[in-house]
């Protein structure tokens, strides 16, 4: 059972023609959508999700994973060239990347981004294959109380990391958990919150909620911005593609540091790629001899965060696959997709489904190679996509939403649900309630409830069971530490006159060219 035989199993699966095809399809679609204006990775995965349900499970997940990291690559390309970051992670890359582009060094910035992403991804893949199986082995000891505390930690982390009010984050998590209870209750079969409608007996499908909250809501929001929506120009300063030797030398250590930071943070619940690129950027700024260069085209400001977010994107699969606990909303989507395909993520997946597990990991590597091939020669082509006007794009997105949703159960009722979820999602955007924690709550809801009920059964109704079991206690202590950190940070920021708002203003200023 050493790592090499495992990887051999994996490459066997991932190099099969059908897996290769879906991997290529995934990274291409992902890059395509990452480059397109006005569609974030969550919306992208959501809209394409129904398509993958008509594909065999391993291939489907390989394709989804490809869409995910492909969209991250595409996102940073746009962020650098046009200063239009689609995600929080690429917003960091845009700071120095776009500055480089303005100096006519877009070529080196893009090439170094691709190379450092590739490096970060590759190292993280090795980490995943080394650490996932032992973690799965450890997790075999987990029983209901441990799982409950772990999920509580994940949910709280998701709420803590939202921008703005912490209470809103908690509220959205609770709302997600509540929506997750809709439908027939698993033990007694009592229908809950169905309002007498048979359509709701099976619960609200997370696909419907995702597409409504992220895809449709984004469409409406983009349309409502109207003239304020960015107009895209395809004028890209373009001198030479090849980075200088100095660029390479300056990038090496930051890439290594970024990879380390990303690999570590990616595993933590709630942290994910966005936070890790932010941390990597901050670290580089601190270790730099001359921090004032940052924001003005420092190559470390591009390569460190980029390697960090790609590393994190890979290691985020560790808890998702081995514990069944997704770290962020994208991983929650992956988890949901796995379950629809009948693959139950958890400690047993490594042993029971080695072809799937190692095949997926090997496909990460192949996907990264494909991205390298796709990105370097075709950067010019991706840029062209930006000139597609939104008035052509959004009807196409709507068609995909409608047909994709209908294809799930061939029930038009699902489309009405999407309309409802879309209106709710638009309201959340306007109220600046982030929908990602809701998604996490929705997907974990049945597991949280079942584990809570089993724990109470186990302890004969004594809630202190979560405190008396050591592993569970550790998770609870981590929760307390997290809450303490939030409270301390909020008191401090109030004392310092709202540092957070200053930082976000700075970001806004950056986004306006």
């Amino acid at each position: 059972m050493d790592i090499f035989t495992n990887m051999a199993i994996g490459f066997d699966v991932a190099l099969s023609p059908s897996a290769l095809l879906y991997c290529l399809l995934g990274v291409t679609l992902g890059t395509f959508i990452g480059v397109l204006p006005g569609i974030g990775p969550l919306a992208a995965i959501g809209v394409l999700l129904p398509i993958t349900f008509h594909v065999p499970p391993t291939e489907a997940i390989i394709m989804l994973a490809g869409i995910y990291y492909g969209s991250m690559y595409g996102g940073s390309t746009v962020a650098i060239l046009l200063n239009l970051p689609g995600t929080a992670a690429s917003a960091i890359v845009a700071l120095d990347g776009h500055a480089m582009a303005k100096q006519g060094r877009a070529g080196p910035a893009l090439v170094m981004t691709t190379l450092s992403s590739f490096f970060g991804g590759c190292v993280a893949i090795i980490i995943v294959s080394a650490f996932a199986p032992p973690l799965a082995g450890f997790a075999l000891q987990f029983q209901s109380p441990e799982y409950f505390s772990l999920m509580l930690m994940g949910l709280l982390a998701a709420a803590v990391l939202v921008q703005g009010s912490f209470l809103k984050g908690i509220g959205m998590v609770l709302l997600g958990l509540l929506i997750g209870t809709v439908g027939q209750e698993s033990i007694s079969g009592v229908p809950r919150y169905t309002f007498g409608s048979l359509h709701l007996y099976e619960g609200l499908s997370f696909v419907v909620v995702v597409i409504g909250l992220f895809g449709l809501a984004e469409v409406i929001n983009n349309l409502s911005l109207g003239a304020k929506r960015e107009r895209f120009t395809s004028q890209v300063p373009w001198r030479e593609l090849i980075p200088s030797r100095k660029d390479m030398r300056d990038s090496f250590m930051p890439t290594v540091r970024g990879t380390g930071i990303g690999s570590f943070l990616g595993v933590l619940p709630g942290a994910g790629p966005a936070i890790s690129s932010f941390v990597a950027y901050a670290v580089e700024k601190r270790v730099a001899a001359d921090p004032s260069r940052f924001g003005k085209g420092a190559i470390e400001g591009v390569t460190a965060p980029e390697s960090a977010n790609n590393a994190a994107a890979q290691t985020a699969f560790i808890p998702t696959l081995t514990l069944g606990i997704p770290g962020d909303a994208v991983m929650a989507l992956m988890l949901g997709a796995l379950m629809i395909h009948g693959l139950v993520p958890g400690p047993e997946i490594v042993q029971k489904n080695p072809e799937f597990f190692w095949g997926l990991i090997a496909s990460f590597w192949i996907g990264n190679v494909l991205l390298l091939i796709l990105n370097l020669p075709f950067i010019g082509l991706w840029i062209k996509l930006l000139s597609i006007p939104y008035r052509i794009l959004f009807p196409a997105i709507l068609s995909f939403i409608a047909i994709g949703i209908f294809s799930l159960h061939r029930d038009p009722f699902d489309i009405y649900l999407v309309i409802g979820a879309g209106i709710a999602g638009f309201l959340f955007i306007k109220l600046r309630c982030e929908a990602a924690p809701l998604l996490l709550g929705l997907i974990l809801s049945p597991m949280v409830e079942v584990n809570l009920r089993r724990s109470m059964l186990l302890s004969r109704g004594d809630p202190t069971i979560f405190l008396t079991r050591p592993i569970s206690l550790v998770f609870l202590l981590l929760i307390v530490a997290m809450l303490a950190a939030v409270i301390v940070a909020s008191i401090r920021s109030r004392g310092a006159g709202g540092q957070k708002s200053e930082a976000s203003q700075e970001d806004n200023a950056q986004n306006v060219p």
């Binding site: 449709l216 209908f406 061939r410």
Partner: protein, 154 residues
């Protein structure tokens, strides 16, 4: 983003949370609650509803503590937003109504045509062309490519 706007958003969110939380609790009392030892189907939602209400109240208190002004948020949303929302929803609803009786091709074409009305910029001809192109493309992708068992025509 000025502070008063931020507070209004929080207040509306708080009202939303309290309303949904309370409603969830009231409905949950219809389901068997059980005991802590043997939790019934009603206890978990009841708990969640209660927590959501509490969070909403907390959020409301937090935002009311910072001095109150008229709700800038509730200013009528721009006409363009309403128009976009109306046509996007109408387009999807039309698809839902038409897909069974009319099949994929007409349903998609009509949906796309309605959705182009969401924003000024499309002439009738370009909208018709786009509808046709997208209906053909999606039919190719979903029916011939993926092989979804959906009828194309009535």
């Amino acid at each position: 983003m000025d502070a008063s706007n931020d507070r209004d958003e929080n207040l509306i969110s708080a009202i939303l949370f309290v309303a949904i939380g309370t409603a969830a609790m009231i409905i949950a009392t219809d389901y068997p609650i059980g005991s802590l030892r043997r939790m019934g189907p009603g206890l978990f939602p009841l708990l969640l509803g209660g927590l959501l209400t509490a969070v909403g109240i907390g959020l409301a208190v937090q935002s009311l503590l910072r001095f109150s002004l008229p709700w800038s948020f509730l200013g009528l949303p721009a006409l363009a937003t309403l128009r976009a929302m109306f046509f996007v929803m109408l387009a999807l609803a039309a698809f839902a109504v038409l897909i069974r009786p009319a099949g994929l091709f007409p349903a998609t074409a009509i949906m796309v045509f309605i959705s182009t009305r969401a924003e000024p910029g499309h002439g009738i001809v370009s909208a018709l062309v786009l509808s046709f192109v997208l209906a053909v493309t999606t039919a190719l992708i979903f029916v011939y490519g993926i092989g979804l068992p959906i009828r194309l025509w009535p």
